[in-house]
Homo-oligomer: 413 residues x 2
């Protein structure tokens, strides 16, 4: 693998991409969407090989399902590209401008980040989405998918690259690194000369590997250990509805709930009520000692259960002394993703919003809304649980940086 | 060194700092400014010990001068704190807010980053400035100064911490790591659990060491290899004035000029004119072959000279074929800091602004204006040559992150 060539090619492509206007980028995206449909047969054939290999290895049915492409899923992938074409161009936006007393005019405008590497696992559609978002924001992209989807990812990347280049996409704007060899990733993570940003999208092991080994800036999409707090003044029916939605609507995603906290003063009513609702929905309850004093049927929760992202129909539960104790629990065990309080007290809501440290802090609504589409931002590459550059949904507006344009007529210091 | 304790203490302090309002933070800053004056004797005595040790080691006069504190410099340091108190609070600003069709209200507000480590060299005033900027933006700070200023840095940090805590500064909000042992820094750079951001401020060796060893996000303040391009339509008198200002007014800083490029079509007039002006100002000229064909007295420039940040009265010079070649040279050798074109052509100006990849791109003004104060942003910790989170002057507005506050009345997906 000639990483220097890979990097130089990507950098050169990035310089050309930065100059493309919106119409040019959208035309490329629409050509790519069309190609995903016209190349459907070969992409689906590649995917069939991946699925067969996964099944032969005894991969779980859930994972095989995430890996499998169908004509309908390929259509959705194409629709995703068309939707990204319809979004506003994040490049060239004037962030602010001002004139100094000496007459210098300063304008801060958005420009592409440059070269972005996306390291992803499992679902092959992530590669197409990520490539489209990078292209729309004027960035060159290096895609590195997981080994389990290596044939599918290669087929999709080559389809997008070929269709794009026939419509003005610079050579090297979409490059593809085959999955399977972590040593290659490790080497790529040191190309800080050529790559400006790495976005890992996958499990915690992947995210940690990247953070540990990268000399390139990383935007983490780590897991969500999301909490729901039933405050003393909460409407119990609303708490039940938001709890069941957050835990059960799609347990395998990062904005699903993992922990339920109930204030002691309402525990004698709220614990039995919500425990029954959870059990009816098929959720396994793991409670601390205080919880089990109100719900003896619960399993015993370990400390690790409170830090766990179950991604399954399991929930850890605790009865907390008061709002302060709840906030402390969340700031200790939470992953800074999405947290919600159910309350009718504006004072409690304000304190929760101020003191809980997370990308998204909710009052009386489901954490399942933490999503670029649901937030009205359009498609996203993930949810950043890091604190720098982007926090929360990572969409087009977060894939740019800035340039200060300073104009004068001879000013010196 | 108990790094776990250091980190936990800083995190706890950060949670409390995030809740302080502007009046509380400003009162602490003013108390610190007063303490720098009332503690002047002991700070100056500590500095005298550093200066004596540096002189005994044979440190250059220039470095000793940067190290030396005087009552006037201490006064300036105090004034810097008072100025930071007068700046607007960057925390709690509403970045944007919107309402979704389902009635969810989303507000993106600024919050402190959390815990910031500042690793700096040489001038002891950097520690006070950095601590004040972090405090004003609600961040806990861990300061790590260079070994040459270890007594001065310790005296200043302890003065600020003591004065601050007497006025409500949380314990651990300003912590200090003594200089001298790089192994300690290396260990600190892995505390990603507790530290949210590392800002190295110093030479390239320091910046690379940090980028190489940190698992914490880094905002680089690397050097500036800044170019001035004399475009074909340039006003030669303006070019001379901006060139001499950029190269000579303060050669040791990152926004000083290091390279002069002249378009071939005007070289026969511009090269002799500007070479004479540079020599009159005492600047050593290192030219490429094309340059020397117009200025045979110039020394020969090596390729390394074009990548060098001289920080001295030395300049590398090249005659380039056209605007495109100039832009290519800048994007190849520049460090992405500040670049300037001297031109009377709006077309050339537009192309330069679009294609040059740097934090600050100037038309007809000195690169020496790249500075938080000169930009009207107030005090700064440095100039970011990185592309993520902050690019250009790194002031209060860049020391925050965001939180999404989502309010509903029971919405679920």
């Amino acid at each position: 693998m000639d990483f220097d060539l890979l990097g130089r090619t990507a950098r050169r492509a990035a310089r050309r991409l930065a100059l493309l206007d919106r119409a040019a980028k959208d035309a490329i995206l629409l050509a790519m969407a069309a190609a995903l449909k016209s190349d459907a047969d070969s992409i689906l054939a590649a995917n069939t090989r991946d699925v067969a290999a996964a099944e032969a290895k005894g991969t779980s049915a859930a994972l095989v399902d995430r890996l499998r492409l169908t004509p309908a899923r390929l259509d959705d992938m194409a629709k995703g590209l068309i939707e990204i074409a319809a979004l506003p161009d994040p490049v060239g936006r004037s962030d602010s401008s001002w004139v100094r007393p000496n007459g210098l005019r300063i304008e801060k405008v958005t420009v592409p980040v440059g070269v972005i590497a996306i390291i992803f696992e499992a679902r092959p559609n992530v590669g197409a989405d990520a490539a489209a978002l990078c292209l729309k924001s004027g960035n060159a992209v290096i895609l590195r998918g997981g080994s389990e989807a290596k044939e599918s990812n290669a087929a999709i990347a080559s389809c997008l690259d070929r269709a794009g280049r026939a419509h003005g996409l610079p050579e090297g704007a979409i490059q593809f690194l085959p999955g399977g060899d972590r040593a290659l990733v490790k080497e790529m993570l040191r190309l800080d000369k050529y790559i400006d940003l790495v976005i890992p999208r996958g499990g915690d092991a992947l995210v940690h590997f990247v953070a540990e080994n990268s000399t390139i800036p990383v935007i983490k999409n780590a897991g969500g250990v999301c909490h729901l707090l039933v405050e003393a003044s909460a409407d119990l029916a609303m708490a039940e509805s938001i709890l069941i939605n957050g835990k059960c609507q799609r347990p395998s995603v990062c904005n699903a709930l993992e922990t339920l906290l109930i204030e002691k003063s309402v525990a004698s009513v709220a614990v039995p009520h919500l425990a029954a609702a959870l059990r009816t929905a098929g959720v396994e309850i793991r409670g601390d000692a205080a919880w089990r004093s109100f719900d003896p049927a619960a399993k015993e929760a370990s400390d690790a259960d409170f830090a766990a992202e179950f991604l399954d129909l399991v929930i850890s539960c605790s009865v907390v002394d008061d709002l302060g104790a709840a906030i402390e629990h969340i700031n200790q065990y939470g992953s800074g993703h999405s947290e919600v309080i159910i309350t009718n007290s504006s004072q409690a809501a304000t304190r929760f919003r101020q003191e809980v440290d997370a990308a998204c802090v909710y009052v009386n609504a489901s954490t399942r809304f933490t999503d670029g589409g649901q937030f009205g931002m359009g498609a996203e590459i993930g949810i950043s649980t890091g604190r720098l550059h982007a926090r929360g949904p990572l969409g087009l507006q977060q894939l740019v940086t800035w340039k200060h344009l300073v104009s004068g007529n001879g000013q010196i210091r």
